[in-house]
Amino acid sequence: MAKGRPNSKRYKYPLPIHPIDDLPQLYPHNPISWIYWTYCYVKKVNALERKIKVELTGKKYVHILVKDNNDMLYLWENGFFGTGQFSRSEPTWLNRATNRLLPNDEDKKNQVALEKVTQIRRSQRAEFKKEREKMEAQLLELRKQGCTAEEEQEFIEKERETLRELRSKELLLSSIDNELKFRYEDNELFDDMGNIIQLESLELLPVEAIFLTFALPVLEIETDHLFRRLAGDPKNVNYKDIYGLIKKYVAYHHYRSHGWCVRSGIKFGCDYILYQRGPPFHHAEFCVMVLDSEEKHDYTWFSSIARVVGGVKKTFVLCYIERLISEQDILKLWRNGQYHKVFSSFKTSEIIYKRWISGKNRD
């Protein structure tokens, strides 16, 4: 697979606020280097030079969108925030469109979108299965003619060898064929300069937006304003309105702040999935369901999710959120805009839910 930049460089920083890591070398015997160092230290700041623009659309269901191409990439590469609207997760639509319509554009050529990789793999797998089915049919024919066990064994051996060869060939030839297909409506994708217009934008989860505003000042939006849009006017909210958001955010912040890359777990029937470092590096190994410590569900509820989660070889984590102060106090803090005090008034704890199979635990 061709690659533009190595992952270790591309995803160097786990958070969109970068540390000050380009201070000059300090020579203990050279006082000038001390002065220069101090100058650099004082001058440099962690804060972003230019915050990222977001658009909030929708009244009841707020969509938080980032539209600038570079901003989208920045949020993805520094902590894997948001989801491209036309993509699986990383906003790759523009690249894919360019690859499809302008295959000679050298800059973009060597970046293969993950969606494309999956597509290739699936077609290969289908091809393989077809081949295998053919061989199986031959074997059955052989059996019907009444072959001996040795003959059958020999055939199975041959079948395996052929399939293995096919597989190796597939792996070698897994380069990407650029089929040039131009549709009539594609004309509308180009601007006057002949470049493709970016149609995709990056949509952030509410919790991601809170994290990027309240915890790390990355988005160009006021924290108060964001909360107002997400939960309603703080003057007339009641506890129920804000609690859902608080619960989700407390869990999100908890895992984010211990180094996990937290993404939505909707595809696995739970609230979050946890990646170590990020999606390009590892599979997610944990699925998190966020629950209130008083919350009750029946067994079927638990076992349904656990079976889905177990089916994709992940660990099912129940994350319980416990309120430490009264609802009235929470509301008071919320109205005063002391959000960090609100969030630190909830405690998290985890219980792992796992199916236990009696026959497999005897030794």
């Binding site: 190994e285 969030f343 199916r355």
Partner: protein, 472 residues
Amino acid sequence: MPGQFEKSNNKDDNDDDVDLKNSTNAVDSDLDEDEVHQDWSQVAKLTKKALKAKLPKRGEKEYEPDGTEIQDAMLVNARKAMYDTLFNSIRGSMLKNQVKAFYIPDRHVAIIPHPKGNFLQTIGRVDKTGICYLNFLEFLYLAERGTVTPFLCNDLNDITNGNEYQLSIQEIYSFFKSQNEMDNFQVYAHLKRLGFIVFPSNSFESGKTTFYPPTSIFKKYFAPSLFKSFYLRIGLIFSKYFNSIANDIFYSTSNFHYMKYLNSISIYKSLNKLIPYHKVPKSKLELLDQKFTIDQLTTTNREFELSFDVWKPQVNFKKKCPNLPDFQIVVYNKNDGSQHFPTYHDCQSIFNQLDYKFGFVQGKDDFDWDSHSYTDEKLRAEYLSSLKSKAKQSNASINTKVEGKKKKRKINSFPPHVQQKMRLKNGYRSFLLAVIDDGIISFTRMTESDFGSENVWYNPTNSKTKRPTRKK
């Protein structure tokens, strides 16, 4: 497995990058001869492995009839073997070997006046006169298996008079006191049939082994070290205030303009002060601390009680004073309107009741449970040596004796980041929940875990030793 292929490719590429960097570094920097020499055999192995394409695995369920006689013949043969075995084996029991058990309705137990048989190793309780007492579950289980012949005994004299009334299995079932007891029987019988050793959790008055030392020993040996942790706890209260001040600063609007963060880790450390998390006991000392100090402060609701102690199949099980169980089970009937799936607080109260082989405290290779558990107010090792009989219970399960079986790799031998992953996945204290749905049992393991004490962030400055170990 969709996804596997693409990810592994990605990762390989990444590894290649790292490897390349390392090799150039080695050449550039200090030209130690040891480092320049390369081991090509390893590389050869890798390329060989990479070239040999693996065939995708197939599922297990492929029993479709293919219309050939061979398949039919195989099926017939297999069936015949089963029927022959069942048909030719002798049914019934030899009169000489018959064991009679008498059910006493008043006391809801059964007695065996002349106990004999292998089952006695793991079932029943023999008193000084040599009579074996079975609890009701044991009685029914043995009767169902045909190991004992069940009789009714309204009057103890009946036994000597020969005035016997033999019970049918149906009649025994009518003696169940409650649905709850019937649920318990299902779990009991299921596990017994699989070879587990099962006793009701409250069945030992004397000779009970516990992980927790008696108060006298605790005060003498463990309290001093816990006293330190008492100071730690005071420290914790203070650190709470420090945290809240730190949070005030961190979440102020101009934080990143006047505070300087020289690496990502320091940003993470400031971030993770915000949400408090529940610390679970992870070591022997922390477990004792929980038991003797914290446990006394909080009143636990006892809606859920442990039902069974379970030991893995093992030889030389000593039923008079068994060692710590391997699992503890809570039984829950999902169709009983008066019961509910344990909530968080229920789980906590069950965790606090647990007293089994806490697997996570045994760090070293030669961890001896006898010197970490207590029987009759004494260290179990001492207790056992004080017993006259030298029938010391061997902890070995049968399977460790089978040679050639792969031994489990010790946790300590894994690299730190793998150990961390194992800690997160395996968790700490755990109990089994047996969920009953009209005769079908489903087991679930509920385990405490602690994501708050583990940090998994990636440290870009030293990617080699990137994952910090557990906070103490």
